[in-house]
Amino acid sequence: MTTTAVRLDRITKRFADHLAVDDLSLAVPPGVIYGLLGPNGAGKTTTIRMMLNIILPDSGAVQVFGGNGTARDHSERIGYLPEERGLYRRMRVLDVLVFLAEMKGVDRGKARARALAWLDRLGIGEWRARRVDDLSKGMQQKVQFIATLLHDPSLVILDEPFAGLDPVNAQILKDVVLELRNGGVTVLLSTHVMEQAEKLCDMLCIIAHGRKLVDGPLAEIKRGHGGQHLTIGFDGHGGAAAVQLFADKRLVRKVDDYGQYAEVELVPDADPQDLLRALVQAGVRLSRFELVEPSLHKIFIDLVGRDPGHREPGEEGVGRA
């Protein structure tokens, strides 16, 4: 296939007092896991909503499956898990799933059968006749995840799918996402958890303040980030001596010290051997000294310029009118 699953062409969305998405272009090829990364309030959710034709961009074009129709016209082929989760609290689990599948054009009988199969598979089959608000939060998330997939979509859009999941459920979800991709489904997910994205995504796009900072295949982004990156592990104490050496601006450009180990970016033409020699001379016991690709986390922080966990309140979502 050569057509893109989703293509955004210079889309811009302005809300009353701020620019949510600014001249953003990206292309999601079919059959990949595509990560849309950015700090909170970067415009991820707004971008996704425009992809889905829930809101319209002020300017620019959205194209899905390479055709003219909007995402809503193709809604039978698209599954969407919104960032803020919610179901009809007073409905029974199976009824909710059947209804949401009907909204995607699946007929009731088929929807029922598929819903039962999925509920069993995710281990909540015996809850099918219970009311949604009898379920725990984790189970509700599973139900909502099932609702996203019931109609066998070829494009699945997950907005912060791992937010609020415990490790076990996150694992289950990750397995399903990989399985989808292996089955040829395009998965677009947004997240600000870099470790997840790094493990999962074939391609990604990092945005901040509504603008694209970088996009492309993960490996390319890492290569393109340039510089020499080291991971240095400390054996026991000695971190204090190392910290002094890392302050040497002739060798080290940036350091991210985690206590037990540090990620170090060297000055462009510095020799890693110089740093190793200095560390050994200073008597720092090393457990590890490795030339590495920069972590996605590091790239992200370099690009965004601040910690991804930093919250900027009131920006995520459609915002205020």
């Binding site: 889905l52 809604s75 919104p82 009809y88 009824d95 909204m103 459609v318």
Partner: protein, 419 residues
């Protein structure tokens, strides 16, 4: 469209499954039963009252009163001659509940027309009415006799007349009496008011639930907001019609039972006479249904907009106040309308689309009205529905995705004008 159908079915099934639906489905007929039965029960519940007529031994008037009272079903009267201590001992009897009341007839009752009734219960309208009408009949007769009028002539002169009232609609007798018209108008107004309010609020909470749970995002990525809103309104509307069906069947059954029970209540000017079983003609039913459906659509559109612009039930409660006030005004105006269905106020209220869903059926039931007015009112209502729904749908479309504080009027205008 299949998706709209799914939305309708979900609204209908989920609502009908709830306890609340059956609660009001059963409570409605209980309410009707209360209105229909209670007056009859109260009126006939007293049983026979034992009273003593006290008068001067010389006057034959007391004898006549006693006889006349005993001719009726409600009172058992005996006569006592006034004397020292007689009244006091009778009062003690009343105090001990061995006697229900004492009717004191002064010597000059025929001239002054004054008498006194002492009872532990002087609020029994039925008893007082019986006493009054009996006394006034006899006093009148006595006065005429004194003036030399032949008692035979008197009897013939007192031959009563019966005024049968029949409502004429489009020069055809409808078989509805004025009392029936009144009760019909009254009930139509009550039901229209309750149903429009109740189901309008249902639409609001349905919108609000989808908004606050954010399901609406999934929905509007699959279906356009307008068909979604339409399905919602139709689904809730279907629930209301289903509710009416239950009420209708129950009411028919109850009215049948009441007819059997009605025998007890005959012969009194009790309130039950005002609440006769209305004969609901086909045109009346059609008018009722047309205005219910019209009013429901008009108000649910507004309630949907309220739900969409609010982000919590409390906010929505506040935001819906203006709408509820309009509806209350429409309902309260019913009493003015019933007094004079042809007044300028009545005509105006039955033409304004926001009050016409209650005002027009009331006027229709209360009396004949020009067909042109009915059509004009319906046409205005239809136009209002289109306009209000258009505006509400646009508010809905923007509002369901909004979070944060409730928009002010200027922001609302911007939502409506947004492409």
């Amino acid at each position: 469209m299949r998706k709209v159908w799914a939305v309708i079915r979900r609204e209908f099934v989920e609502r009908v499954r709830r306890k609340g639906f059956w609660f009001s489905a059963i409570l409605g007929p209980v309410f009707f039963a209360a209105v229909f039965f209670l007056p009859a029960l109260f009126a006939s519940s007293g049983g026979t009252k034992r009273i003593v007529v006290v008068d001067d031994a010389a006057a034959a008037f007391g004898e006549r009163v006693t006889t006349a009272l005993n001719a009726g079903p409600a009172l058992r009267a005996s006569r006592a001659v006034a004397g020292d201590g007689v009244l006091d001992s009778l009062m003690r009897e009343v105090g001990a509940k061995r006697l229900d009341g004492v009717l004191i007839l002064p010597d000059d009752i025929v001239t002054t027309g004054r008498a006194e009734y002492r009872s532990s219960n002087v609020s029994s309208l039925r008893d007082i009415q019986t006493l009054e009408s009996t006394l006034s009949g006899l006093v009148t007769a006595a006065r005429l006799e004194r003036a030399g009028v032949d008692p035979g002539l008197l009897t013939r002169a007192r031959q009563g007349i019966t005024l049968a009232t029949t409502k004429i609609s489009g020069s055809q007798a409808t078989g509805e009496s004025s009392a029936q018209s009144f009760s019909l108008a009254y009930f139509m107004a009550v039901i229209l008011y309750m149903a429009i309010l109740m189901y309008g609020v249902n639409v609001k909470s349905s919108v609000l639930e989808e908004k606050t749970s954010r399901i609406v995002e999934v929905l509007v990525s699959s279906i356009h907001p307008f068909p979604l809103l339409l399905g919602k309104v139709l689904g809730v509307g279907a629930v209301s019609l289903f509710q009416f069906l239950i009420w209708g069947v129950a009411a028919k059954g109850l009215l049948g039972m009441r007819a059997a029970l009605g025998g007890h209540a005959r012969g009194f000017d009790s309130p039950i006479e005002l609440f006769q079983v209305p004969h609901v003609s086909a045109p009346t039913f059609a008018v009722f249904l047309a205005y219910f459906i019209g009013g429901f659509f008009l108000y649910s559109a507004m309630f949907a907009a309220v739900g969409a612009m609010s982000s919590s039930e409390q906010e929505a409660q506040q935001a819906q106040q203006p709408i509820v006030y309009v509806l209350v005004v429409a309902f309260l105006s019913m009493f003015a309308l019933l007094n004079d269905p042809g007044s300028a106020l009545a005509v105006t209220l039955s033409l304004i689309p926001f009050t016409s869903p209650i005002a027009m059926p009331v006027r229709w039931a209360a009396g004949d009205l020009p067909a042109t007015e009915l059509w004009a009112s319906l046409a205005l209502l239809a136009i209002a529905i289109v306009v209000v729904t258009w505006v509400a749908a646009r508010i809905y479309r923007v509002g369901i995705l909004m979070t944060g504080k409730r928009p002010n009027l200027r922001e609302l205008v911007r939502w409506v004008r947004a492409a």
